[in-house]
Symmetry: D2
Subunit: 345 residues, 4 copies
């Protein structure tokens, strides 16, 4: 059996492995007997042992970060790109010559429209020809396309929570697609591993801060994915807030009901839409972040506010797992024809 | 001058002083030379020294908690009632025989309608005759009435942040009063000093939890105060969330613009409405909780989201100060004809 | 292969499963294909679904808590007892008629001397005859005895970190066994799932509190286990502190060197003592709690302070894993002849 | 009376006001009617409004940070220097021509021996001639010298807590001066306002980290101040730990008793030593950080551990107040002949 594994082993590289998403990929892949982590690259940390940056990986990932040398690499089955948006599009084209499948955890291949990309990301797109080929890697929406894809754009953390919250009622026509308010709270790890006063403990502890009001790059991602899914214009207000926790996203969505429905009917719509989804749990209680931290689950709960005619939806994930590395591995599993939850259960 | 102070000294009692609002009242009053704290009462903690419960008050409040004995008390100028909602209405009527002025920090006298009270608070109101007399103690709205009042209902913490955020644009007719979404985050001290698993550190740390969706007792408070202020029906969705900080409320309000305005015009409306308000600061940056913690300030910032036609307002306070004890003292100052900011600057 | 597993499946009960150690046992056992969790009992929560108390277990532990009915149970291979000290000794004797092996996570069977037990635990011991039979379940010290035991006393969380830190230098005679200072910091989950003001978020956040100075029940546990291990009198000062984190113990041990040694020699002694220990990592950097949280590892680092002649040792664990449930499972694995790290890697 | 104040007003400059100690100085001075804050300087933040860096100071400190231009300044009564160690000694000599009194909050003038300074601070001392003149600004030890000083070296935060804990028993000869262990926990603000991954929220939250074991620059400060105070050699082990709180130092000191004493006798020695100290509170309970946060108090509690013959002392302060800015103002008050607690009560 050991031999069989070796034969079938998936070889993996992580480009940009020194950030939090990269580290979470290493954490999740380290436990798998069917995956061989061949190469992890980094910028400033190149040359350093992985466990000196991430001591919890001592004895589990016996690698050092390598410099990324485009073109100079042996073949791997899957390359994860965990670089900041703007950098992914510079390495992905070259990567495809030595990696059969590429999963980009950044934002560079999530929007089909490069004009929209340039408006929100504030720089030109340098790999426009790949945009049509890239598949948006939300397995609960695109499982079949992902299975056939060679380039997957892993969703943003906020969009994952918001889109999973909104798909069932929008698909069913229960709520107005043009009157949606999305209020999200994020743990600080979502901002990445960075040296800045703004991200320092003393500035964030016992504090809350909204940011990028009205201009966050996840707005067009949420709108365009939902639009394509329902074939109708979707318009959202979205305000992200940084709160003093390390992991987790708590998204509260306010929608306006178009039909007279009760909570049981709405819950039934969710249950039905997600009946095959292994990582979405429809809750009869108010979701909590602690329930999903360090898991690939998205927990969703709903309330109908009769007085105002609103359906309020709460959706929670771990930003580094279902919002990044876990979902990326879910996508890898689908691309390789493996059980979707391998290494994630 | 010392003598003059003694002559004019205000004598104060705090009924229900062992909770967090009561302790904050003691903290704020302890520093004042014009106030004499004569009596602090408590239930289970009666008989105990104040500094054993609140060690930061050692050497500052040399009192012990007394049992509350209705009717048996010497006269005081001001009595603060910091009891849970439902208990205040049982002591306030009797209190008025020995306290010239009463400020209730609980919810019992905030709603004019006892029917609404009973619907949201889930028990009968036992002092209905005082409802019409009680003045809603939001100084930025009701300064003159407060100055003449003998019974003030101190606003709830969430309503303080929400109402201050909404008054200027509603007064100016800038936004739709029936399409308002209020998303609030609260520090845990807002839930009071309580022995419960739900409020334990391990359950709240690294967690977020929405609660009382659609049924929170602050909904009718927000709606009715705003309605009275603008003479129009107001309807709000309001979802409070508990986040792992001790103090602070972060309220993000989503409103729909009725007019074409720009941010400068809206800011001018706020500046104008609050030009005499000593504790409201209109910010050109996104407000943060750290800026108001342990102060009586409410910081407000706004953004216009052109794409959706929404005005988004952010309002932050310290729930124990501007949201409770600080505002109560601001009310006391007004009632006594003292400078509004005495002991709060 | 599936069948083979079913044949060999270990049946398990958890008595007192509603607390944090019990929940962590469920978490760790839920992932195992060779274990069948047959019964979880609780007091006040009996009758409730497990996932309502611990929502992260939704879909993973499809059980409800049962009342514990002594004597009325089908046979299980292993029973974990996760009751408060004082309660374990009341159920363990009866348990042995239907559980082949019992692992008690409380303090009732850790001390061989019932006099010492009664001095520190402040109540009589009611199962004195089992004390000599119980094996102290620190696998790095007692692996062979544990493998043959039918009753294992799982170590306390503080003693686990302190004893693992001290065994090598004491065994080697490097440090004075009668001049040891142990300063420990603990996450709040170590205090259990409890409803008390003292454990509430607002009281513990942004705070530190030492407790039980000089009288903590882990003092005799540390001293007697070390004494037996080295055959010499051991005397320690031990001060535990509660700090605002959920999980983790950080133990700083100050010892007085009896020999001229350098750090390399001391590290070599540790490496040698723990060469077969799968869960002890000897670090060349200062240990951190984040490196061990949610793992069964104990990370140890040392410094020689030439100026004072002291060897300072730092030892960190996750109090709920290596300090409780993880170590209990490590013990179960040893008792069943399974790989020591099954379900813990 | 207003005029009298203006006449007597103390003019103040803060050199290096953009860090956390500088900001705390502004916070404390802003409330004083007898102090005029004339100039605040900064490096990178020069030119920026104070309230953009510290929004809580909006409306309270209406200044902008200036560049520090040595020699070019009008006269002030008091200059606070809140620069990192190594920078203070470069500005202090020049400062003295335009500031009558200088209080340096850094480490450059705390050690009398420049050799010791250079050993621990790892760079040469460039103002050696001022070392003998500088007075160590611990008011509880040196009040009279401080009153006459023109250059005060404000103590470090750890030394403040450790020295106040140790002075009474050492002075009384109760404990062995050469067998002292000091274990300290510090809030993160003690590390200053800095942009580094190590100080980022995600790295420090839910974590603990000891640092600078055996080589911290506060070791010679603690030892030499105590040595001078008691005229005997003092030797300490000192390990500082960073814990996830913003403010506060929790110091646990382990000493060996030289005499048979009971707790009452030791407490009496503390009470007597500190009978005139307005900011030291001797507690009969275990001290907590919450009791001193945002105050200038040092709370001290003790336990005698009969079994080991040790006196354990716990001492807590707010690192930014009694450990920095508050103590600096206490020193200023003494230097100016003002009541010691003005602006600090």
């Amino acid at each position: 059996m050991q031999e069989e594994f070796i034969e079938n082993m998936t070889s993996v590289a992580i480009i940009g492995a020194s950030g939090y998403s990269g580290a979470e990929l290493m954490r999740l892949l380290a436990g798998r007997e069917d995956v061989c982590l061949k190469k992890v690259t980094a910028g400033a940390s190149a040359g350093q042992r992985v466990d000196l940056l991430y001591p919890d990986l001592a004895g589990r990932v016996p690698l050092s970060f390598e410099e990324f040398l485009p073109g100079k690499s042996e073949q791997v089955d899957v390359a994860f790109v965990a670089l900041p948006s703007g950098e992914g599009m510079r390495v992905v084209p070259g990567l495809r010559s030595w990696a059969s499948r590429v999963i980009d955890l950044g934002g560079d291949f999530r929007l089909k429209s490069h004009a929209l990309y340039e408006q929100y990301y504030k720089h030109a797109h340098t790999a426009v020809d790949l945009l049509s080929e890239a598949v948006y890697g939300l397995p609960e929406l695109n499982a079949q396309k992902i299975a056939r894809a060679s380039l997957v754009a892993n969703p943003g953390c906020y969009p994952t929570s918001a889109i999973l919250a909104l798909l069932p009622p929008l698909k069913e026509g229960l709520v107005d697609p043009e009157r949606i308010v999305i209020n999200s709270l994020s743990g600080v790890s979502g901002a990445g591993r960075s040296a800045s006063v703004d991200m320092s403990f003393s500035e964030l502890n016992e504090n809350v801060r909204a940011y990028k009001l009205g201009v966050h790059q996840h707005v067009p991602e949420i709108e365009s994915v939902l639009q394509e899914a329902i074939g109708q214009r979707v318009s959202v207000s979205f305000v992200p807030h940084l709160i003093p926790i390390t992991r987790g996203i708590y998204t509260t969505v306010y929608t306006t009901l178009l039909q007279e429905v009760n909570e049981d009917e709405v819950l039934a719509a969710y249950d039905s839409y997600y009946r095959k989804a292994q990582f979405v749990r429809i809750k009869r209680q108010v979701p909590q972040i602690q329930a999903v931290v360090r898991t690939n689950f998205c927990d969703i709960g709903i309330t109908i506010e009769r007085r105002t005619g609103r359906l309020i939806i709460i959706s929670v994930i771990d930003n580094l797992v279902k919002g990044a590395a876990g979902q990326a591995i879910q996508n890898m599993n689908l691309m390789l024809g493996l059980p979707e939850n391998r290494g994630l259960a």
